[in-house]
C-alpha cells in the first residue's frame, strides 16, 4: 500500500502539450503510471506520447474515468485548471506550477473543499509511491519501495532525503512534496493521518522549514494522533530573519516560525530532529529496531 497514489491511479495531465507537461508525461509513463489522458484547450483529438488529448477536463474524465490530475499549466491559469478538475469530479489534484498568486489559491479553496477534492501544491514536485506510481517530477532513480513515509515543503531537499534513505537501505511507501507557498493544499496534519492509517508505512519523516507555524501544529497533531515514529529536519536554521528564501514564510502568528521554536515543539512531543539530513536514516533504524 501507499497513500494518495498507487496502481489504481488514473492520471490526467493538464497542460500536456507544454514543454514540461510533455516531458514529465513521458517520465511518468516510463515509470508505469497509468496516464489515461491529457487536457489542452484547442488541441483535443491530438495525441502526446500515445496519450489522447482533450479540450476540457469534463470530456477527458467522461472518456477515461480519470481520478487524479496533475497540472503543468502556466501559473496565471493554474487555479482555474484546478477548479476545472474539481468540477469534473477528479478526486486528487496536484499543481506543479510555480508562482501561482496567493489570492487565487485562497479563492479556489472553498470550492475544492465543497467538492471533496484533495489538492497538493502549488509549487511542489508532486508525489511518488515507489513501485506503484509517480505523479510528479521527482527523479525516479533515487527511490526504493519500502516503509518510510516522507513529506516535505521543499523539492530538492526531498530528493536529498530520499537519496540518504535509499542509500541506507530504507525504502519509502510514499513521498509527498507539499510545496512551499503560503497557501497550499494538503499539509502535514492531513498527511500525518494518512501515513498513520497506512499499514505499509512504519515510520514518518517530516522535512520542515522556517516560517509559519505548520511544524508547531504538526507537533501538536502528532502528540494527539500519531503513534508511529516521526523524525524531522528543519531547513533554514541559519537563515537571516526577514528574508524570503525562495519559499514564502508567513507573516502572521508572531512568536512562531523560527527553527529553534520548531525544533523545541517537535522535541517536546518526542519527535527527534536531525542536525543534518544524513543523521535521519540512523535515527529511523534505531526507532524501528533495524
Amino acid at each position: 500500500m501507499s497513500i494518495l497514489v498507487n496502481k489504481n491511479t488514473k492520471l490526467l495531465v493538464q497542460g500536456i502539450t507544454g514543454r514540461d507537461g510533455g516531458f514529465h508525461t513521458q517520465k511518468m509513463i516510463d515509470y508505469g503510471t497509468n496516464v489515461v489522458g491529457g487536457v489542452s484547450p484547442g488541441k483535443g483529438g491530438q495525441e502526446v506520447h500515445g496519450v489522447p488529448v482533450f479540450n476540457t477536463v469534463a470530456d477527458a474524465v467522461k472518456k477515461t474515468g480519470a481520478n487524479t490530475s496533475i497540472i503543468f499549466v502556466p501559473a496565471a491559469y493554474a487555479a482555474d485548471a484546478a477548479l476545472e478538475a474539481s468540477e469534473a469530479g477528479v478526486a486528487l489534484v496536484i499543481i506543479i506550477s510555480e508562482g501561482v498568486p496567493t489570492l487565487d489559491m485562497v479563492r479556489i479553496t472553498p470550492y475544492l473543499k465543497k467538492n471533496g477534492t484533495k489538492l497538493i501544491g502549488a509549487n511542489c514536485p508532486g508525489l511518488m509511491s515507489p513501485g506503484e506510481a509517480l505523479v510528479g517530477i521527482l527523479p525516479v532513480s533515487i527511490f526504493k519501495k519500502g516503509n518510510i513515509g516522507l513529506m516535505s515543503r521543499s523539492g530538492t531537499l526531498t530528493y536529498e532525503m530520499v537519496y540518504q534513505l535509499t542509500s541506507s537501505g530504507l525504502g519509502q511507501s510514499t513521498c509527498v512534496g507539499i510545496g512551499g507557498d503560503p497557501v497550499a493544499g494538503l499539509y502535514y496534519e492531513e498527511l500525518l493521518q494518512m501515513f498513520q492509517d497506512d499499514p505499509d508505512t512504519h515510520a514518518i519523516v517530516l522535512m520542515g522549514e522556517i516560517g509559519g507555524d505548520a511544524e508547531e501544529r504538526a507537533a501538536e497533531y502528532i502528540r494527539k494522533h500519531v503513534t508511529k515514529p516521526v523524525v524531522s529536519f528543519i531547513a533554514g536554521q541559519t537563515a537571516p530573519p526577514g528574508k524570503r528564501m525562495g519559499h514564502a514564510g508567513a507573516i502572521i502568528s508572531s512568536g512562531t516560525g523560527t527553527a529553534a521554536e520548531k525544533i523545541a515543539a517537535f522535541e517536546s512531543v518526542g519527535v527527534q530532529v536531525a542536525k543534518q539530513p544524513s543523521e535521519i536514516p540512523g535515527m529511523l533504524k534505531k526507532l524501528l529496531n533495524l
Binding site: 508562482g99 498568486p101 521543499s154 537519496y163 522549514e209 543534518q276
Partner: protein, 375 residues
Amino acid sequence: MKIHEYQAKEILARYEIPVTKEVLCYTVAEVKAAAEKLGYPCVVKAQVLTGGRGKAGGVKLARTLADATAAAEAILGMDIKGFIVEKVLVAQGVSFVNEIYAGLTIDRNTKSVVFMASREGGVEIEEVAKDNPDAILKFAIDPDLGITPFVARKIAYALFDDSKLANQAVVMFQKLYQVFLDTDASLVEINPLVITSDGNLLALDGKMTFDDNALFRQPEILALNEPDEDEIKELYAKDKGLSYIRLDGNIGCMVNGAGLAMATMDMIKLYGGEPANFLDIGGSSNPQKVVDAMNLILSDKNVKVVMINIFGGITRCDDVAKGLISALEQIKVKIPIVIRLSGTNSKEGLEILKNANLPIVETMSEAAQMAISLA
C-alpha cells in the same frame, strides 16, 4: 514587494479611506514650504522601505519652522538599517484620543484573508502580539462571502464602544478588504488608526506589501517598485531565473532548490563556516544559468571559496557540469571550487568534471567541510 508609507496612503485615499494631510519632500527647502503650508504641529517622517524608523530617530515632531528645518536636516540622508533616507513625508499633526491597529494578511492555516484588529495600536504592536496575543483579534474572511456588513460590524464593535465610530469603521474595513483583493496584497495595515479629538477615524500611518507572484497582473503596483542595492542584485538574479540573497560570510553557495539551499547554509554553519549567500539556481537545466550564477557569486568580493551542491531532479547534472566548464572558460576564477553532484545524470556530469580536473565530493557534509577548510 514593499512600498513606502506615502504610496500606501495614496492607495488608501483612492478608496476614500481618510488619511492625514501630507506632502512628500526631497529637500530641506521643500520640507520648510510644506510645513508652512500644513501648519504646526507637523510630523517629518523618513520614507524608507524598512521598519523601526521611529526608534531610529526617523520621525520627528515639529512645532515651529525651525523645528521642521532641523528635523529635515537630521532625517534626510540618515542611514536607517542600511537604507539612506532620500525623501520624507511632512504630515499635518493630529490630536487624537486613542490608537487602534487594523491589518489584513493571508493566514495559511485557514487558507483565507485574515483581519487583525486591536485596541492596543501603535508602535508597540509587535510587543503586544508577543506578550498579550489575546489583545489582537483575528477574523478569517470567507473568500466566497467576502467581508459582509455583519462581519465588518463584528470587527468594528470589538474595537469601538461608540456607534458613530463603529459605523465609520464598518465602511472603512470593507474598503480595506477591497484594497487587499484589488491590489493582490500580502499585507495591508493601518497602524495607528486613530480616533481624533473631534471623534473621527483617521489613518495616521499605512503599510502595504504585495504578493510577488501576482505582480504580473498589477502593473500599477509594479511601477512603484524601488529596489535597493541588494534587491537590484536579487532582481537581476530573478531575471536570470536565479534566486539570490547576499549574506555576510565568505563561502559562496550555488544550489538547486530553496530548501536544499537553506540546508546547505545550515550545514556550512554547523561545521563552523559562514555562507556568503543564498543562491537557488532553480529547476531548469540551462548551462547559461550556471554561468550567470557564478558571475553573481564572484561579484561579492568577500567570497573565498565556491561550494556547488546540486541534486538533479528536473535539473540535469550533466548540464550543470557543462555550464560550469563554460563558466570557467569565460570567467577567470581565482578561488577554489568544491562540487557535489547527485541525482539525474550525475554519472555523466561527474565524468565531464573529472576530465576538467575539478574537485568533486560525494556528500553535502564533505563538501561543506572541504569548503570551510579552503575558505
